[in-house]
Symmetry: C4
Subunit: 235 residues, 4 copies
């Protein structure tokens, strides 16, 4: 590759990374808007499409302090990337290994979100899947929201638990036991939407079950709702 | 009709539609203010009085992005209207068929609202009517808030279920089974108020029943509360 | 009285009323800040000290639209006052008769608040007093928050129920059966504080009782907490 | 000490106190942001490091009115400090004695927070510790959140109860019986974080237990989570 071509490629990559940083930073505001996180306990990441890179929240920073520049670029093993744009002041989220594992093993995933949102985490603490008793659960999740294994932070256990649970599920959300929800999407915005909807249905089904048993929905109708929503809804 | 008269009529219609668009857009802010909706999951519509037209939220747009111009004008079968003012960039809400069915079959209705507000939807998931145990339920709903049938999106089933349930009820709200509330009003603002009050009483009665049985109110007193409120209250 | 004296007295009264209007208007913002009200369902009033007058929210206006000028001045029977400053565009709150009855029968009361705040109303719907199991209930209420009778709007029944319940109670709050809380104070700000604290303890004791029985507090210690708080606390 | 040295020391102390006042004032905004307090019912204090002084909220002031200047400087027995910077217009919080006791007996503590946050106070009203069934409880609290004794305001009883409960616990939070949580930290920000996380886990575990029993976590794994979080997390 000539020097010109290399410079152009670097410039192109730099612009691509900057755009992802801006998007990941902005999407954290949706987590606070919908009350899914307190203090610093939740994070959004996005794959840099076409590169072996991802962008994720820095560790321990408050949401109000986040800027596109403070977002951290890592490779798909969670190692901060080298180079000008990849050499941030901040260490990546302590959940980076789990996000990275998902990107390595689920190529169709472009965004990952982790929160400890109250109602979803309450189901996770009991290790209980959220039953699909709402048409909007059929639309968005295509069935129950499944439970993943108990896994400690520090190695690939959490990532493996997420991938093994979601690989054969229609649901973009998994409730990691005693921990909280992880959600995935074709891009970071879709993963954030799944996190918002996961908490919403976790709360609604919880409230409904407090005073009796919600009515089940026929699985064939759930499949029909999901198919229509995924293929027809929106602009 | 002379050309002059036709031009004046078109101008008049254009102004009327613009006013309804502005109102429908603004009323969506009440849905977010009272926490009745997350992401894009709820919508307001209004009849264009004196015309075979309605105005409704575009599909899949976030509430913060809504503008009067993005509201969609359709006929009373949900087909986007032709002409300059009726030819928007956006497709109408996926719930348009249900709103349109209501306008076709209930001429006294000028506004329709649909949400998945948490507590009302929790009652809907159990298929259980909200009992009238609060004076403010007597005022606003005139009795229990009834349950409508389970119905899939895609044809007139939802609209039929709404109309059949509300036609002979004093209540402006119906809880569609496993789905969520629809509310109606003489105008869009009244339908939004009914949606806000529906969630408020759904929550209050839920909370009350968590620790025992609420005291019933004599139906004659409920009728008296409702009559007074509908005919005397306000400016 | 000379013309000069009469003019000075009128000017003085006009200034006094304007100050109360500004205060009553501003205090409604505390009701929305603490989520005690939705739509138009709650109101604050204040006595005009030294006059047979009170100031109260207009009927049916949204909180965001309230201005000092829109507050309504009435006599202590709820009849809108005559004269320039007493002749507003708006009708007073539909709860005015209840507020007025309290001012007529409890001369020490300078402010009254009515809401349908969720948790307090949930206790009211069961007709159940809130037991004093929190030190902050001892401080503010001096014991249980009592229940008042079921009473219809339209005559003095609600006002009588409030006065009969609170006259011999340390509590500044009463839960009117199937209806909601009314609170009183030496001024309107104190009555608003009581409304805020009433909902807070209604929620906390509700939540506590959901998973077991709260520990009782010795009545002598409650009396001691109340005495200290009422006489020592604050600046 | 020469006059010059004394003047320099006084100037230095004055600057140090001003910085603590600004921080303590600002941290109260986190209490309202996370809904931990209503009206004036909660307070933050900080030790002035290297001095026998602390800074605390004034009694009875609303959160929106707080300024760095209104924060009160006291000695470690709660007596307002003498001198220009220590002679405020306002009396210190009625909880000052409890904060002061903690600073006298726990030299490692640099900040104390007291709230009546709803869910933590609900556990406190039952006198029940919050079981450690969430990984984020392991991270932040290293085990259950313990209960402290019932104690009346007015002497050192509350302070003693806090210190006796927390001295041998990994938890920075204690639920004082029938009262509410107190939290400590190496600085005021850490104590505020503990207050925020205490309410969050109090709510999540409450919600989880409403529909069954949360899964326990092996104490060895809790210890491992706590150790990692306290020593590795953040920037």
């Amino acid at each position: 590759m000539s020097d010109h071509k290399a410079a152009a490629a670097a410039k192109n990559l730099s612009g691509k990374v900057a755009a992802v940083r801006a998007e990941v930073c902005a999407l954290h505001a949706e987590l606070t808007r919908y009350g899914l996180v307190v203090w610093t306990a939740g994070n959004v990441s996005a794959r840099v499409q076409g590169e072996e890179l991802m962008v994720i929240k820095p560790s321990g920073l408050a949401y109000a302090e986040l800027t596109p520049e403070s977002m951290v670029v890592t490779d798909l093993f969670g190692t901060p990337a080298a180079g000008d744009w990849g050499n941030p002041t901040f260490a990546p989220s302590s959940d980076t290994a789990a996000h990275a594992y998902v990107y390595r093993h689920m190529p169709e995933v472009g965004g990952v979100v982790h929160t400890h949102s109250t109602y979803a985490t309450a189901w996770a603490a009991r290790g209980e899947a959220i039953p699909c008793v709402l048409t909007m659960m059929g639309d968005e999740f295509g069935g129950d929201i499944p439970v993943g294994p108990f896994a400690l932070i520090g190695d690939d256990s959490i990532g493996q638990g997420i991938v093994e649970t979601l690989r054969d599920s229609k649901s973009p959300a998994v409730l990691m036991k005693n921990h909280g929800p992880f959600t995935i999407g074709r891009d970071a915005r879709a993963a954030v939407k799944a996190a918002v909807m996961c908490e919403e249905v976790a709360k609604t089904v919880h409230v409904s079950r407090q005073l009796g048993e919600p009515l089940p929905i026929d699985p064939a109708l759930i499949a029909s709702l999901h198919d229509r929503y995924q293929n027809v809804y929106g602009q």
